[in-house]
């Protein structure tokens, strides 16, 4: 195998084996304790070759602001489902640290490939929240232009988007651009064949892709133990000659540290990396799911104690960066977006039946033109009263 330069560096500097470079830390990288204090360096779970600096206070304060907004967005959207304004919403409540860090670690020109659960990451990246909700409101499959913010359409067929991420990175690399691509998926999704193919392609073509797995312990009702018996999901990196890392997914400090380094390694030419964030889906899979069927309240409560917002609030307050005024301002920012969501989603979308035929191809085929005329004719013959569906 060709050992990437960065890996060679680590191997040399720390006197570790190439496998040690690839193998994630045995536990996980954690910087902020559950009660909101920065852990001493020797308690962060790091090993030689796996050491991380603490991000700047400025970065952390902004991350916290995004956490507050993310939580508000999750709760607002869940409420909008209950009010019938959204058809479905897969909430990332409890995973906001992952969502926020995934967006903040990227530059403008970089790309992100999210799943259905990553709406908060998508919005944090700059996509208009209402546009991001189009899929879940049900007036179109995707509401935003992937090219505008370099965010792939939120993917439902599990894991498939990782390959699109690989392709985007490959194209950029062929053109000599320094784009990094963050490819996201869940723990369950790692079992699909496309996961394997995406990681291998990225490794073989030595592409700047950071694979970011939010291990929220469940794939709908199926717990991680039925998904894999590997020591960790990050261990899967080894099989591709890739470095893996495991991080506390409720610790936005550690997430930023690990993802920032992963992105800069990738940009510098290390090839792809795999980061597993250990987190928890605090709510049901979607509003259609009943989580009490497969997990108990005690488990949920144990994770509630690790709440990502709570930890950061405590830390930033204790360091004096988060004053009541700032907290109020952040809450205001969050409320503004919640209001925007409420407003945007309270308007019934204008539906045009002809949209059915408009975008199948760049130009409709004769067959589609015929079908479009057929529907237009059918609708024109309907009673006016029936037109309002």
């Amino acid at each position: 195998m060709t050992i990437p330069a960065e890996a060679q560096e680590a191997v040399k500097r720390f006197g570790i084996s190439i496998e040690d470079y690839m193998l994630p830390v045995h536990g996980q990288i954690q910087i902020l304790s559950e009660d909101g204090t920065i852990l001493p360096e020797d308690q962060r779970g790091s090993t030689p070759g796996h050491q991380y600096p603490v991000p700047s206070d400025k970065e952390l304060l902004e991350a916290y602001r995004r956490l507050v907004i993310g939580r508000r967005v999750n709760d607002q959207n869940s409420a909008l489902v209950r009010q019938g304004r959204l058809a479905v919403y897969p909430s990332s409540h409890g995973q906001e640290a992952c969502q926020v860090a995934a967006a903040l670690c990227l530059r403008d020109g970089d790309w992100m490939f999210p799943t259905y659960r990553d709406a908060v990451a998508v919005m944090t990246r700059g996509v208009d929240p209402v546009e991001a909700m189009t899929l879940f409101r049900g007036d179109w499959h995707g509401g935003y232009d992937p090219h505008e913010h370099h965010v792939g359409i939120q993917s439902t067929p599990l894991t498939t988007q990782l390959l699109h991420a690989v392709g985007v990175a490959h194209a950029a690399k062929l053109r000599g651009e320094d784009t990094v691509v963050l490819a996201m998926c869940g723990d369950g999704a790692t079992s699909e064949g496309d996961f394997h193919e995406a990681l291998n392609f990225a490794a073989v073509f030595h592409l700047p892709v950071v694979f970011f797995v939010q291990n929220n312990q469940y794939a709908i009702s199926v717990p991680l133990a039925h998904q894999t018996v590997a020591p960790s999901l990050a261990h899967k990196a080894v099989g591709y000659g890739m470095a893996g890392e495991r991080v506390d997914g409720n610790d936005v400090v550690a997430l930023l540290a690990v993802l920032d380094r992963a992105v800069s390694l990738a940009r510098a030419g290390s090839g792809p990396l795999l980061v597993e964030a250990n987190t928890y889906r605090m709510q049901a899979h979607t509003n259609a799911d009943d989580a009490t069927r497969y997990r108990n309240e005690a488990e949920v409560q144990a994770w509630a104690a690790k709440d990502p917002l709570h930890r950061m609030r405590h830390y930033l307050t204790s360091t004096g960066h988060l004053t009541d005024d700032v907290e109020t301002a952040f809450a205001g920012d969050a409320e503004e977006i919640a209001q925007h969501l409420r407003d945007g989603l309270s308007v019934e979308p204008q539906l045009d039946p002809q949209d059915l035929f408009r975008h199948v191809f760049t130009e409709p085929t004769p067959q589609l033109r015929e079908q479009s005329a057929f529907l237009a004719d059918e609708l024109s013959r309907e009673e006016p009263s029936q037109k309002e569906h």
């Binding site: 058809a87 479905v88 899929l135 879940f136 409101r137 049900g138 007036d139 179109w140 499959h141 439902t156 067929p157 599990l158 369950g188 999704a189 079992s191 699909e192 064949g193 496309d194 794939a219 709908i220 009702s221 199926v222 039925h226 998904q227 894999t228 259609a288 799911d289 069927r293 497969y294 979308p349 539906l351 039946p353 949209d355 059915l356 035929f357 199948v360 085929t365 067959q367 589609l368 079908q371 529907l375 059918e378 609708l379 569906h389």
Partner: protein, 351 residues
């Protein structure tokens, strides 16, 4: 959804006696009964065990039969189907659930290249008594990839049987037959019918099936509404709108026969042709996009076999040749009773 509910209610009202049972319950009961009758019958897939499936079709099976006979797998459809094939080779009768239509596509190679061909390539030495259950089609407001009508992919693949019930009794009967079949069956379940109810005596059906008393449903289309002026040929999710259209046509004085294929492979040419020869006018109704579909096949067969009985070209009412629409637009896509009536009106009655 009102059409569905109405049609179901109408059918429920029509038969007297037993309690109303949902389509979902009939499927669950069919699996449970088969599992009781044969230790080799096992059920697995994504979320089928503890959760009982996202549509709750496998609800209670793990509780009754244990985690060895009803279990969750890692999230990988090719893995599920490929493993099922191996288990079927080795004495089991697996039933696997694909969570939604489009999520069976990762298993396409296993299905097309192995499940469909194993019996043939081994000259019948390896039998594959396995059932691949696929909840399919729309009408439930599902987002993209959750409402595909994928039956044509399977029906076009030689070596696969394709069943698709539209009534509660058929849900039970056909699933029992699929499980009992030594050939692999792709079992397409119209999602929107899961919650439809009919008064059906499942215990009586069980007895009938287990005593092999009644006629097999496999390969036998059912005339679900008799008529003399025109024939609607449909299956699965298209049956409720077809029945509603026939009902409406009757009010306008037109007697429309509705034929439910029940199994696409094998195909019941006899029943279909008999109806067409009688009425001379045909509309084929299917929810799937029409191009190169099962509906195309039905049209082709009907005109091949009954050409001189046809008073008008066979018409199709199918989905458009577009990706399944988002929830708020699906009503423009789904074949409605009105659209079927329009097609019936078009059958050159003036001649």
């Amino acid at each position: 959804m009102s059409t569905v509910a109405e049609a179901a209610a109408a059918r429920a009202a029509a038969s007297a006696g037993p309690e109303p049972v949902t389509f979902a319950k009939a499927l669950t009961t069919a699996m449970a009964d088969a599992m009781r009758a044969d230790d080799g019958v096992i059920v697995f897939g994504e979320d089928v065990a503890k959760l009982g499936g996202v549509f709750r079709i496998t609800d209670g099976l793990m509780a009754e039969f244990g985690e060895q006979r009803c279990f969750d797998t890692p999230l990988a459809e090719s893995g599920i189907v490929g493993m099922a094939l191996g288990m079927a080779m080795n004495g089991m009768r697996p039933i696997v659930e694909m969570q939604f239509d489009a999520f069976a596509y990762p298993a396409f190679e296993q299905i097309a290249s192995h499940v469909a061909k194993m019996h043939n390539r081994t000259r019948g030495r390896v039998k594959l008594p396995m059932v691949i259950r696929v909840p399919y089609a729309g009408g439930i407001g599902g987002v993209e990839h959750h409402c595909d009508s994928s039956e044509a992919y399977y029906a076009h693949t030689p070596g696969l049987k394709v069943f698709t019930p539209s009534s509660v009794a058929d849900a039970y009967r056909l699933l029992r037959e699929a499980i009992a079949s030594d050939d692999p069956v792709v079992f397409m379940e119209p999602k929107k019918l899961y919650w439809s109810k009919e008064a059906v005596d499942l215990a009586a059906l069980r007895e009938e099936v287990e005593a092999k008393a009644g006629q097999k449903a496999e390969g036998r289309a059912a005339v679900v509404r008799p008529g003399t002026d025109a024939t609607l040929i449909a299956y699965g999710p298209a049956i409720p709108p077809a029945l509603a259209a026939a009902e409406a046509a009757a009010e306008e004085g037109r007697s429309v026969e509705v034929v439910d294929l029940r199994t696409i492979v094998p195909f019941d040419d006899e029943t279909v042709s008999a109806s067409v020869r009688k009425t001379g006018r045909v509309v084929v109704v299917a929810e799937a996009q029409g191009f190169a579909s099962v509906a195309s096949e039905i049209v082709a067969r009907v005109q091949e076999r009954c050409f001189h009985s046809l008073a008008a070209p066979v018409r199709r009412v199918t989905g458009f040749d577009i990706p399944f629409p988002p929830p708020k637009l699906e009503h423009w896509y789904l074949p409605s009773a009105d659209r079927i009536l329009d097609a019936l009106d078009d059958l050159q009655w003036e001649d």
